[in-house]
């Protein structure tokens, strides 16, 4: 006969495998840390000495500048390209398509070198009426500094990727939202700005954060143009002192620190754009309570 006694004690399942696995990982991690700390060839004293020298800090600053400027310009241009691509105007859509096709389809390194050598193709740049008089003319050689070439290359390449990310975000917003906004008399631009883009942001932010991290590291490609960003600053030092590994570690630590800050920023930005979600947008890893419990709990 079944025993239907109600006050039995519930004991959670215990996993022996989990515990063993954790132990193995901890031991391996300890071994790794040990060899890195003890191996003298890492030259940790050199790392410590160069970590905050002025040349490295200046390089890091340039890296941050390039990242911020190229990312901001890239996002803005990316939004424009995405809207063009989705527009009913075939011409605009085709231009956007062509832009993405080209700048996503060629290596960033080639683009950077190309912009840097623009003066070889067009020695003089000028502003004026097409095929008519020119108002200002300047030498491409003086205009295209390594910094300008870097920003141009990074921005245009970034815009191509951002265009696709933003387009995906815009398409991810329910069509009913556009209908509702238009039914209220909102214009297309107002609908885009106030209704569609803010909702697309939830989809756009995570890959954009990824792009920013990638951008931060891609700025190291600019070292080929001789701009003294973080990696190039490290290279200048180790070409003199031959302490290659420790200086690369210095650069890596800086990149790691900067990407860590970005990840923290990403957490808060994502939370902001999820504020309308049930649970106030906090990202929960544990299973959340049933929805109706939270609805009741909302202060009104």
């Amino acid at each position: 006969m079944t025993d239907l006694d109600a006050d039995l004690v519930v004991v959670p399942r215990r996993s022996v495998g989990n515990l063993a696995g954790t132990l193995v990982v901890l031991v391996l991690a300890a071994m790794l840390v040990h060899t890195i700390v003890v191996n003298p060839r890492f030259e940790w004293d050199v790392v410590a000495r160069y970590l905050t020298v002025e040349a490295i800090a200046a390089g890091a600053l340039l890296t941050i500048e390039l990242t911020v400027i190229s990312m901001v310009l890239g996002v803005v241009l990316g939004v424009v390209l995405a809207v063009m691509r989705l527009s009913r105007n075939r011409m605009l859509a085709a231009i956007s398509f062509g832009f993405v096709w080209f700048f996503r389809g060629t290596p960033l390194l080639i683009q950077l070198i190309f912009w840097f050598n623009l003066s070889a193709l067009y020695p003089a740049l000028s502003l004026g009426i097409p095929f008519g008089p020119e108002f200002v003319t300047f030498s491409a050689n003086t205009f295209i500094t390594p910094f300008v070439a870097a920003v141009l290359g990074l921005t245009l390449n970034e815009a191509a990727y951002m265009a696709e990310i933003v387009r995906g975000g815009l398409l991810g917003v329910d069509r009913g939202q556009t209908s509702a906004a238009q039914a209220l008399g909102m214009s297309r631009t107002l609908t885009l700005r106030r209704v569609v883009l803010p909702q697309a942001m939830r989809i756009i932010v995570p890959p954009t954060a990824n792009q920013t991290v990638a951008m931060l590291k891609n700025t190291s490609l600019v070292s080929v143009l001789g701009a003294a960003e973080l990696l190039h600053s490290a290279q200048i030092i180790y070409s003199r002192t031959y302490q290659t590994i420790p200086l690369l570690i210095v650069a890596a630590l800086w990149y790691l620190a900067m990407t860590t800050v970005l990840s923290i920023g990403q957490y808060y930005i994502e939370r902001y754009y999820r504020r309308g979600d049930i649970g106030g947008g906090r990202i929960r890893l544990r299973r959340s309570k049933p929805a109706h419990v939270q609805i009741m709990g909302v202060p009104s």
Partner: protein, 249 residues
């Protein structure tokens, strides 16, 4: 409101095949009909969310979506069409509240951004409207925190905040759990009692009977039958109406 000879097709599919419909000011017109008969499309044509292939629609004596020049109809600019839409309220089956805005901001958004009214004034009016639909206490909640019935009542308040002269309802209770339907219908009934001109696509035959002045049965892109709700429901003259009503009643 007058609809005359309206036709609309998507590619090879003729969705509206010559619609004529008059709704007087203050009247409530209920539209019933099987799924796919073109009811939603007709509503979307009335506020020019869809272009017409033929025919014309007038609301309050104004031609909607087009400007007449002799025998030709030129489509209005996006801006002028938007201005016309701002005087016609629309409520959707899926509510379509803006999920990133609080309930209050959902209601305040269009009057402030579209009509450029003063935010403080609009906010007072929005709170009164939320009071009217029984949701003032939820003003600072987000849509996802409300039940479907509450969301739909906010959607009604949002449309009313633009002071529309005509309200279009597209199956406003079809996405709701049965126990939530009553509150929304009650809100709509109160609106009708206040004299609002309404066109309501619905499967709630009880609502059509009690609140509606006119009942229209649509099938396959045409209006098959129309009349006083009591008459149509009690003695449909067309076979198609009879078959449909026997399924929903």
């Amino acid at each position: 409101m007058q609809v005359r000879g309206v036709r609309k097709s998507y590619g090879a599919v003729d969705v509206l095949r010559g619609i004529d419909l008059d709704v007087e000011t203050g009247e409530v017109c209920c539209i019933v009909g099987p799924s796919g008969s073109g009811k939603s499309t007709l509503l979307r044509c009335i506020n020019h969310l869809e272009k017409l292939d033929a025919g014309q629609i007038h609301v309050d004596g104004t031609l909607i979506g087009y400007r007449r020049a002799g025998r030709r109809l030129h489509e209005l600019s996006e801006r002028d069409a938007a201005r016309q839409r701002s005087a016609i309220g629309m409520v959707f089956q899926q509510f379509n509240l803006f999920p990133h805005l609080t309930v209050l901001n959902n209601v305040v958004e269009a009057p402030v951004r579209v009509k450029r009214e003063r935010p403080a004034e609009v906010q007072d009016r929005a709170l009164l409207l939320l009071d009217r639909v029984g949701l003032r206490s939820k003003a600072h909640a987000y849509p996802a925190q409300l039940s479907g019935g509450q969301q739909q009542r906010v959607a009604i308040a949002r449309a009313l905040a633009m002071r529309p002269r005509l309200m279009l309802f597209d199956e406003p209770t079809s996405a709701l759990d049965p126990e939530l339907v009553g509150d929304v219908l009650e809100t709509m009934r109160a609106l009708a009692d206040d004299g609002m001109t309404m066109i309501v696509v619905t499967h709630e035959i009880g609502f059509a009977r009690e609140v509606g002045d006119v009942l229209v049965f649509m099938d396959d892109g045409v209006i098959v039958e129309r009349g006083a709700p009591a008459d149509v429901l009690a003695g449909p003259t067309e076979e198609r109406t009879r078959v449909f009503l026997s399924k929903v009643l």
